[in-house]
């Protein structure tokens, strides 16, 4: 049942347009260039609903075996797996601090993030040119070359955990002791114990040994200062100090968690510069015969991205600048008319996001190795700016301006269309559920 309704209207119809009669209008925008699912699915043009995710070599082999029945490849198979976790199966709902933090080195980054995918699908002539129909098989891999840095708020959260663990360790190793001199000496002994033995035990310690010791020494100074006060000469007072210090660290934990969860949908995602390499290839088993396999198409992506969070630290205000890029080389079986050309695409997108405003500028450049005779240039491009402003909780203003091209590979054109489109979204009723439909135009 709809609980949210949009009323849309166009403010400005495209004001300058040189039509491309007879051409379809399948604009390639930046989002389409991005690798939004497993590369084998993309290259085969499928969006599988049931994806097998084997988490051991045995299950992976079993999945592959199940894709072949009676010597024929079964269509609608979709498999995606990350071999790194075959050895270390992790619960998907548990945040593994060690896996997250202990990620040093280029090769380690690749091996940890390498994911393999495989998919099959019945084919049609549109996708695979003059090749005989049969079963298409896509396979792909993707991995990060540079995996970014953790959110700095996670460091603050980690520090709060270390401090809390320290005071709780002191409290738990001294609980029930009533002799003040014994109590005090235990605190000092256990401080050394904590520094020496807990550095690599705490899963969510994201600090070096030197910084870990610095944090503990700072807290030890606070403790010693307290112990030198005349009022601290009884067990109850010291116990209260330990508990108050642990509670204070817990409050800090809560503060950073609140900031992380309110600012980010995925606060555990790495930030800064990230570089991903993706490869996908599609084969066609014509008439479902292994000996009639033909290469259909393939693609290589390189996707750099960088993000700056400009929000004031611990603030609920969102202020984020993101730069994203895509370099894609697509190679096609031209002999069998899967496509007339190979393509090289470069896409760049910059986006500023705040609580009410999203402003984006994106550009795409495409180079084709061959073009139809009636086309002059081997390149075309698209440049678009878009603005989305939330006037209030019910009304949003949208505006797009730019030039676009028809990206359909068989109706290749120059960049000649200029457009400007604006609109308002009205919410009639309060939006009360995340399942409320979004209407886009």
């Amino acid at each position: 049942m709809f609980r949210y309704t949009n009323i849309l209207f166009l403010l400005i119809i495209p004001f300058l347009s040189k039509g491309q009669g007879g051409h379809e209008d399948p604009d390639i925008d930046f989002e389409l260039l991005k690798v939004n699912s497993a590369p084998s699915f993309i290259i085969l043009g499928v969006e599988p609903e049931n994806i097998q995710r084997p988490n051991s070599p045995r299950k992976f082999v079993a999945s592959i075996q199940n894709a072949v029945v009676n010597g024929k490849i079964v269509p609608n198979v979709a498999i995606e797996t990350t071999p790194y976790y075959w050895k270390k199966p992790t619960d998907s709902i548990r945040f593994s601090g060690r896996e997250f933090y202990n990620n040093s080195g280029f090769l380690n980054t690749i091996s940890k993030t390498l994911s393999l995918s495989l998919s099959t699908s019945e084919t049609d002539s549109v996708i695979f040119g003059t090749l005989k129909s049969g079963t298409g098989m896509g396979f792909g891999l993707r991995f990060l070359l540079v995996d970014g840095k953790m959110n700095p708020l996670l460091s603050d959260w980690s520090k709060a955990i270390i401090i809390r663990e320290y005071y709780e360790h002191l409290d738990m190793t001294s609980r029930g002791i009533s002799d003040i001199s014994r109590y005090s000496s235990i605190l000092l002994i256990e401080t050394e114990n904590f520094k020496n033995n807990y550095f690599d035990k705490l899963e969510y310690n994201f600090f070096s040994k030197a910084n870990f010791n610095r944090i503990i020494n700072q807290e030890l100074n606070n403790l010693l200062t307290f112990l030198n006060l005349p009022s601290s000469n009884n067990v109850d007072a010291i116990e209260s100090f330990l508990q108050a210090s642990a509670d204070n660290a817990k409050n800090n934990q809560a503060k950073y968690l609140d900031a992380l969860n309110s600012e980010y949908e995925f606060p555990l995602a790495k930030q800064g510069f990230i570089l991903e390499m993706v490869f996908g290839n599609a084969l066609l088993f014509q008439e479902n015969k292994f000996n009639q396999v033909a290469h259909a198409k393939g693609a290589i992506w390189l996707t750099p991205s960088y993000s700056w969070n400009l929000s004031k630290h611990k603030s609920r205000d969102i202020s984020l600048i993101e730069l994203m890029g895509v370099l894609r080389y697509t190679y096609n079986n031209q002999k069998d008319s899967v496509d007339i050309s190979d393509y090289f695409d470069i896409g760049l997108k910059g986006q500023y996001t705040s609580n009410n405003l999203t402003f984006a500028l994106e550009g795409i450049y495409r180079y084709a190795s061959k073009v139809p005779d009636d086309i002059d240039k081997n390149y075309t491009y698209r440049l678009v700016t878009s603005l989305n402003y939330k006037i209030n909780s019910l009304v949003t203003f949208n505006f797009n301006f730019g030039t676009s091209f028809n990206g359909n590979t068989t109706t290749y054109t120059d960049a000649k269309e200029l457009f400007a489109i604006g609109g308002l979204n009205f919410g009639i009723f309060n939006r009360t559920g995340s399942e409320s439909p979004e209407i886009s135009y």
Binding site: F95, E165, E168, Y198, A254
Partner: protein, 139 residues
């Protein structure tokens, strides 16, 4: 009399007696902790401080201890088990930033035999703590 649920949420635990039936006197007692997050789109980070008579018996803190050896029941008589579990939640695609509630379960077993299990569900505050302070009795 049945053992009382010793789990306190977000407050210091009071001392609760935990009686181990005498038939298990010569049997090893094990502790298991289970954590379940009750809403999709969230991940959790956990740390479990397990101290038996002021001695840390689970220095790793995480993941949840499973079949952690405590001692033979006869040796546990009169000892205190101080348990403090801290659970932080992180959004993992959730539409909102209201943290998922957490179900926490404590299981005591003598060998393969269940003695008692207790559970509690947290509120939505983040982090949330599950604390227990148990005095073992086995006579």
């Amino acid at each position: 009399m049945a053992n009382q649920n010793p789990i306190y949420i977000d407050q210091r635990a009071d001392n609760e007696e935990f009686v181990i039936p005498s038939e298990f006197k010569e049997v090893m007692i094990f502790l298991t902790i289970k954590v379940e997050i009750l809403k999709g789109g969230w991940k959790y980070a956990s740390g479990h401080n397990v101290y038996l008579n002021r001695k840390d018996i689970y220095m790793n803190r995480s993941p949840e201890p499973e079949d952690l050896k405590l001692n033979y029941a006869k040796n546990l008589d009169g000892l205190y088990l101080d348990l403090r579990s801290h659970i932080s939640r992180f959004r993992d695609g959730s539409d909102d930033d209201i943290p998922a509630k957490v179900e926490y379960e404590l299981i005591f077993e003598a060998g393969d035999t269940l003695i008692d299990s207790f559970s509690r569900i947290s509120a939505e505050n983040n982090p949330t703590d599950f604390n227990s302070y148990v005095l073992f009795k086995c006579q």
